[in-house]
């Protein structure tokens, strides 16, 4: 039984990476911008946080170090979002191309930064601080730390803001029909910038969380980019609702952890015969599930479950 509990807690903790990534992407997409730079932005969020730890881990007390590192990670990712917004909102560059460029750029730059940091400084001591409040435990709960709860909070707050406040109403209106929003006096450009930067910042926390908290290992940064793509897929799974990413990321987490802890599970189930070749098939599952969700939501064709109508389309007021 304990193995199952460990497995689910592990899946939950791992899923938080996607909560950050997809909540950030949802906020950006609600403003009408398809940000394919999320993988790169998550990388940069990770690099930003680690860089901060490298510089200040020895001087700052742990009470300040954790929140400041989170802020640093957020700001680094938001900076990437700012570049993306400048390209796509102001210069009206193609969003897909810009996004892909951001991903390539972000992951490359992260590699450069991370390879120059010293794991003994930025990782070994600080990672325990992030494991608060369960740091002292030895069971699976110690995998859950401060940034896990932050992820849940971010998703819930984002959902509340999007669906219950005027701010969210305005933002969703921009993603659906920017001309209409413009005509009623909403500052479309400002909203797009702010949403993209905040969304990117949130996504960046996912990368930082993965390195410092979930994995806590030196090699962790190498797989962030892959999870970035999964986070984008999760946006579709969650039907553009941030609170749904909590459920979605758990499902993704379970499916993904299946592939890594498969031997543990297999030993419990006698009929389940595992070979090495099963693992890649299991790794495909999150993507298969995304496709299934996409098919189902397209068949049901409920207007509320479709992507924002103006997603990927640059808005230019004089284009009448």
């Amino acid at each position: 039984m304990n193995a199952w509990l460990n497995f689910f807690i592990d899946a939950l903790a791992f899923g938080a990476v996607f909560i950050y990534g997809s909540t950030g992407e949802i906020i950006t997409e609600k403003a009408g911008h398809l940000n394919l730079g999320i993988p790169g932005i998550m990388c940069m969020g990770g690099a930003g946080g680690c860089l901060f730890l490298q510089l200040f881990a020895k001087t700052l007390p742990s009470v300040l170090l954790v929140p400041f590192a989170i802020v640093a990670s957020f700001l680094m990712a938001a900076l990437m979002g700012l570049i993306y917004s400048f390209m796509t909102v102001t210069l009206r560059a193609n969003q897909n191309v810009t996004g892909l460029a951001m991903t390539t750029f972000g992951s490359g730059l992260m590699m450069t930064i991370m390879s120059r940091l010293q794991a003994t400084v930025y990782l070994n001591k600080p990672k325990k601080m992030f494991r608060f409040p369960f740091a002292a435990r030895t069971d699976a709960l110690q995998r859950i730390g401060v940034m896990f709860f932050l992820a849940i909070a971010v998703a819930v707050v984002a959902s509340y803001l999007l669906y219950k406040t005027k701010l969210g109403l305005h933002l969703r209106a921009i993603g659906e029909n920017p001309a209409t929003a413009d005509a009623v006096g909403i500052n479309v450009t400002r909203y797009k910038y702010v949403a993209t930067c905040i969304g990117s910042g949130i996504a960046g926390l996912g990368g930082f969380y993965y390195i410092i908290d979930y994995m806590g290992s030196q090699e962790a940064y190498k797989s962030i980019e892959a999870f970035g793509w999964l986070a984008i897929a999760l946006v579709i799974f969650a039907l553009w609702r941030p609170h749904m990413t909590i459920l979605g990321s758990f499902v993704f987490g379970v499916l993904f952890c299946c592939s890594s802890s498969i031997s543990v599970i297999a030993s419990k189930i006698s009929w389940f015969n595992v070979t090495m070749s099963t693992t890649p098939i299991l790794k495909m599952l999150p993507y298969v599930v995304t496709i299934v969700v996409l098919v189902i939501s397209s068949i049901r064709n409920k207007r509320e479950n479709q992507p924002p109508a103006a997603l990927g389309v640059s808005y230019f007021r004089e284009d009448r």
Binding site: K166, N177, A179, T180, V184, G185, I186, A309
Partner: protein
Amino acid sequence: MQAQNNDIVLELRGISKTFGSIRANHDVNFDLRRGEILSLLGENGSGKTTLMNMVSGIYYPDAGQILVNGEEVSIASPHDAFKYKIGMIHQHFKLVDIFTAAENIVLGVESEEKFNMNEVNKRVLEISEKYGFHIDPTKKIYDMSVSEKQTVEIIKVLYRGADILILDEPTAVLTPQEVQKLFAVLRNMRNDGKSIIIITHKLHEVLALSDRVSVLRKGESIGTVNTKETSESKLTEMMVGKKVTLNIDRSDVTNAEERLAIQNLTAFNQEGVKVLDDINFTAFGGEILGIAGIAGSGQRELLEAIAGLQPISDGQIIFHRPKKNLPVTFFHKSLFEIKEMAKEGKFHDKEGKPVSFVGKTTSTIVKEVNDGNVIFNDDEIMNLRDKTPLQIRELGVRLSFVPEDRLGMGLVGNMNLTDNMMLRSYRKGKSVFVNRKNPENLATKVVHDLEVVTPSIKTPVRRLSGGNVQKVLVGREIASAPKVLMAAYPVRGLDINSSYLIYNLLNEQKKNGTAVIFVGEDLDVLLALCDRIVVMNSGCVSEIVDARSVTKEEVGFLMTKNTKEAE
């Protein structure tokens, strides 16, 4: 400070606006009183909407002053307009489809109170009860009819506390019952002290609803009159003005042949509204048939129905293929078809005797056909109903269509001149590779003959000016030597010289025996260019008139009179 009944709430002084070389408004003066409904009347392109867009902050005037309640104001954005309690309901609704009515209404409203959707819904209901609307605040826009969407737009403006409402052709999309409802609501608002401007070109509505009428013609204000002291004929005269003589060379029609007959054509649009209602007319080869009408009277649907783009629910489109006294060839007809047609007695030989293949061998028949000894008695008659544009072309019907939307339907903006020429010929030939040589030659010829100003034939057409784009399109369509040439607003947005070039091209086609169908908006041009004019009025043919004898006022009246009431 008790407001007097005829307080002036909005005044425009000497407003002018130009777009490039086009003068949309020139020195317009205009005033609006508290608690009145004022109609802004004018033909298409007379600058009504532009003028009101300046009041509502979409455009900024080049010159002139806008005064609200006696104070000069500067309205640079719709936001500013709301500040002065001015709200405009545009023809094309600006609504977010997946939001509810109330969400759309509250969008962008600044208030100190905490945002609460229930409160908003309540207020929306209050407003709608006050003025007699019927609306469910929680209904999604995508579930709504056009009339409901319009209601949302009106409440959106009222919710922001507007005292001056501008409605741009509000009845264009409504059924007669819905129009009556709207008018009742507007009268309630007037009685509540709101000032309302309705932009329209429907005279009976002006007379039924408004207190005063202000008339615009070609961007200039002609005058404002009290509705009680005017009549349809007086307003028509103000609207269309005196006849302007144009120097268009119109030749007489010689031996016109029946080419295209439209019989009982009826069609519905996607919303299920009847857009064409029992249309009947015949277009003859060698004449220019004009189609006049207020915008949206069904001209576009008519041309698209003929071209095979608009599904029709009833009626026939009969094309007379000019074959009379021409020999039949295997190029157009198979041997089997020729035999069948011979049985029906459709051919004669060179001596004029009827052709019969009875008892002849196939090789004799083939020889006779190849010798040109099998000649059509009459034009071939084909029905183009329910045919796609491709099928029409494959039938060998040379039908050319210059659509209203040049860069949308006519040409591909991002492709160069040659590629655009190729849109008509890419199916020719059996090779996997397309033939680029001929389209290139054609593009060069069009550029040369029509004096298209372009850096090269490799330039994307969207980079050309409006007039040159139109020349390219018309040039391509004429190049296929059409038997029927349909042109929708071919001179819209063109300068004088380009316009005349297009008129001359159309006249040339007429002399070649083509049946030209010309949809126009400028009555002077229609009267000077066309031989006959089909006047359309809300999807019906109002009357077919002789362009040489009819007066401008008569056409104007036929365009605007309310046929439904007259019946």
